[in-house]
């Protein structure tokens, strides 16, 4: 360090060969240096920074140090807090026009106030609340999220803003219309996978996940389509369970999407018409917090590992696979039993003909019985009215 000092001072050494104006400039610089040191010495408690923030292109001043690739600081926990901000990444990020000190508001001078965080996680937890300065809506939504609840309960692993959106590298996720960019849809499951890697592995193999990750299919749902974006709900609650068929229905009743893949849009109606679906619908509307043992879409099709129904191994079109599903709730079910569920078909002469013809029979039988009855009753009423009038005349 002392070496450096002398090295620096060397530049100030006067030389006879130097021209006079240069010498004067150097002398003035030297005086200024000494004076500034003096000021610091006189009042070390209220040390003014050497250069006020206004005098430098703000972020560049910070990046001078923080652009260093190995810039880091050990923390009491034994971890190392990386202080590196990649200039290029930051320039490409949505925050490129935001000044460092907008978020790091406690840093107005150099040397910076020391860190109070004991660990890397502590530091993130101290910092993430500044997001609400600009992103109040999103921040408020997170307050209702399951992550926030878990965090409030003391689990500091729970995701906070910066876990999903690295503020120094976050690129735009939506286009000017607010629609998700294709690359963003790809990034989402990977973000969630940072903490939910086992679930991600299931999702990546599912019909939806594979279509997204392999084919970059933009129709399939990513995590947020079911779980929400910032107000991510606890998916283990009864109300979430009961509401889940409507999540699936959001896409699966949309003919525009389903036509492309030749998938029926009757899946919700046929489910709701069935015993299970009726019960779940009633629970959902009347007692959303009361548990029911009736299945919803995910019970049979899988939660994250949803497979094609014609999957050669896991497909529910295979009676054995469907029976296995039935048996999870009806352990004594035998091979005929799965047909008690009409597999989302609307009864027709081809599919479930007995049901179709029974329904058809009653379509004719009910009016066939009630019609003649009604005709007779009406004739009886008329006869009585006529006789009453006659009787009145006689009287």
């Amino acid at each position: 360090m002392l070496g450096l000092f002398t090295e620096n001072v060397m530049t100030k050494q006067p030389s006879i060969k130097f021209l006079r104006p240069v010498r004067i400039v150097l002398i003035i610089l030297g005086i200024a240096l000494i004076l500034s040191v003096g000021v610091l010495l006189v009042n070390p408690a209220n040390a003014t920074p050497l250069l006020s923030p206004q005098e430098l292109p703000q972020n560049e001043a910070c990046l001078t140090c923080h652009n260093r690739p190995d810039f880091q600081r050990p923390l009491p926990s034994g971890e190392t807090l990386s202080l590196t901000i990649d200039r290029d990444h930051y320039r490409d990020s949505v925050h490129s026009t935001v000044e460092c000190t907008d978020c790091h508001a406690n840093i107005s001078e150099f040397p910076h106030p020391d860190l109070t965080a004991q660990s890397v996680r502590d530091f993130s937890l101290e910092m993430y609340t500044v997001c609400q300065q600009c992103h109040a809506d999103q921040y408020d939504q997170t307050l209702d999220s399951v992550h926030q609840k878990v965090l409030a309960a003391g689990n500091t692993n729970a995701a906070i803003c910066t876990d999903c959106h690295n503020p120094h590298t976050q690129t735009p996720l939506t286009d000017s219309n607010g629609d998700l960019l294709p690359e963003a849809r790809l990034q989402i499951p990977q973000k969630c996978a940072q903490c939910h890697s086992a679930i991600y592995d299931l999702y990546a193999q599912s019909v939806h996940g594979a279509a997204l990750t392999v084919e970059n299919n933009q129709d399939v749902p990513t995590c947020i389509d079911c779980h929400g974006i910032h107000n991510i709900e606890d998916p283990t609650t009864t109300s979430f369970y009961l509401n889940s068929p409507l999540l699936c229905a959001a896409c699966h009743t949309d003919a525009a999407i389903m036509e492309k893949y030749g998938i029926s849009t009757n899946v919700l109606d046929t489910y709701v018409a069935d015993f299970h679906g009726t019960t779940v619908t009633l629970f959902e509307t009347q007692s959303p917090d009361q548990a029911t043992n009736k299945p919803v879409c995910i019970t049979c099709h899988g939660v994250h590992n949803i497979m094609r129904v014609d999957d050669p191994v896991y497909g529910l079109e295979m009676k054995q696979n469907l029976l296995a599903r039935c048996q999870t709730c009806h352990p004594e079910a035998t091979s005929n039993f799965p047909d008690a569920w009409m597999s989302h078909y609307i009864p027709s002469p081809e599919h479930y003909p007995i049901v179709y013809y029974v329904t058809l029979f009653y379509k004719f039988f009910i009016p066939g019985v009630l019609g003649p009855m009604a005709v007779f009753v009406v004739s009886d009423i008329i006869r009585r009215l006529i006789e009453r009038r006659k009787g009145a005349k006689r009287a």
């Binding site: 620096n8 001078t64 260093r68 047909d339 008329i382």
Partner: protein
């Protein structure tokens, strides 16, 4: 019509009931005939309550998405409670049906009564005649016996309905047991039939039964058990004639009665036991459809963080400057700073060098990105 009432006045009846005695004033004017035994009236009351309960708990299940359906289901305490009430009422109706089978069996085999409820060609003729009379084509209203064609239609519709509802109800209540033998499709078919039949039954009760005994004329016979001679003459003239002729009843001598009873009761006992066992099976044979194991969740842990790429271990600074600027450098630890002059100076120098360093980098950047 008014003529018919005044005609028979004081013909004593063997079936004169106690009610007639009580209403002493009317006794001279109108004679009362017992039409329904108290057991039949109780059976009717049970049928009335169980049927109504089944209807008001069943139809909301058929139309569960309608506002009124949901209102009723909510009023009964939710769908599961509604189902329980429906099942209880169904058991009452099944027990009642068992009783009715035994009762009818006793009447047929032991007392050997006239089979007045049996429908025949005559009833069809009567129906057409009544309809013709209403329209003015027939001059006379048909004269009918103990049970009119309307009543027979009502009764046999009820028998048909109860059998259909019982069978389809069993299939739905016990789908696993049912599909051991029958195709699975029979369960949704049973549901369709149960719903269709329910609609038919309720509509028929409102249209046919309500009209016949409440709107046309409020007929209290099923509650009092008695019918006045006026009413008998008007509605069941042939039955009245039979009563008066003394052929309505077929008395059995006590000896034959005991003999028949001795045969009937054991058989009836076996049948009733079998039916009660059937009802028990109906209710309790199958548990898995109503109590199920907890649903399986994802078999993987929810929180499974990816192993993060380890950060590089702190090394010597590799920046363009030849100085060290590390947070673990004691003089840079602002919290630990001591205010000695030397340290202050060192820091100042470091910062100055840093600035030069930055300007030189920036110059390079400019060159790189904005070549002249």
């Amino acid at each position: 019509m008014s003529k018919a009432i005044t005609k028979p006045k004081s013909v004593p009846s063997t079936q004169k009931s106690g009610t007639a005695k009580k209403t002493g004033v009317e006794q001279t004017k109108n004679r009362y005939y017992q039409r329904f035994h108290w057991a039949q009236r109780i059976a009717h009351a049970l049928l009335l309550t169980s049927f109504t309960t089944l209807a008001i708990t069943g139809l909301p299940q058929k139309y569960s998405l309608s506002a009124w359906g949901q209102f009723l289901i909510n009023a009964f305490g939710g769908i599961e409670a509604t189902r329980v009430i429906h099942h209880v009422a169904a058991v009452v109706l099944m027990l009642l049906s068992t009783y009715h089978v035994l009762d009818v069996g006793y009447k047929i085999f032991v007392r050997r009564v006239r089979l007045t409820m049996l429908p025949g060609i005559r009833d069809i003729k009567d129906a057409f005649q009544a309809f013709g009379y209403n329209l003015g084509f027939a001059k006379k209203h048909p004269q009918m016996g103990r049970y009119t064609f309307e009543e027979k239609l009502e009764y046999w519709a009820l028998v048909w309905g109860t059998v259909i509802m019982g069978i389809t109800g069993f299939l739905m209540w016990n789908p696993i047991a049912s599909t051991r033998l029958l195709p699975g499709e029979i369960i949704p078919a049973a549901k369709a039939a149960h719903g269709g039949e329910a609609l038919l039954a309720v509509a028929a009760i409102i249209l046919w039964h309500m009209y016949s005994v409440h709107i046309k004329r409020f007929n209290k016979t099923m509650f009092t058990g008695n019918m006045s001679e006026d009413e008998m003459l008007h509605e069941h003239p042939l039955e009245l004639a039979d009563i008066k002729a003394g052929i309505a009843e077929r008395p059995v001598d006590p000896k034959t009665l005991r003999k028949r009873q001795a045969i009937y009761w054991p058989i009836a006992g076996i049948i009733s036991l079998a039916m009660l066992f059937g009802i028990y099976g109906f209710v309790g044979a199958e548990k898995t459809a109503i109590s199920t194991p907890p649903l399986e969740e994802d078999s993987v842990p929810v929180y499974a963080p990816q192993t993060p790429t380890p950060l590089p271990t702190p090394t010597q600074a590799q920046g363009s400057g030849a100085f060290l600027f590390m947070w673990n450098d004691p003089i840079s630890r602002i919290g630990d700073i001591d205010s000695s002059t030397l340290v202050r100076l060192q820091y100042t120098v470091q910062y100055t060098v840093k600035l030069f360093d930055w300007y030189s980098q920036e110059a390079l950047c400019l060159k790189k990105y904005h070549p002249v």
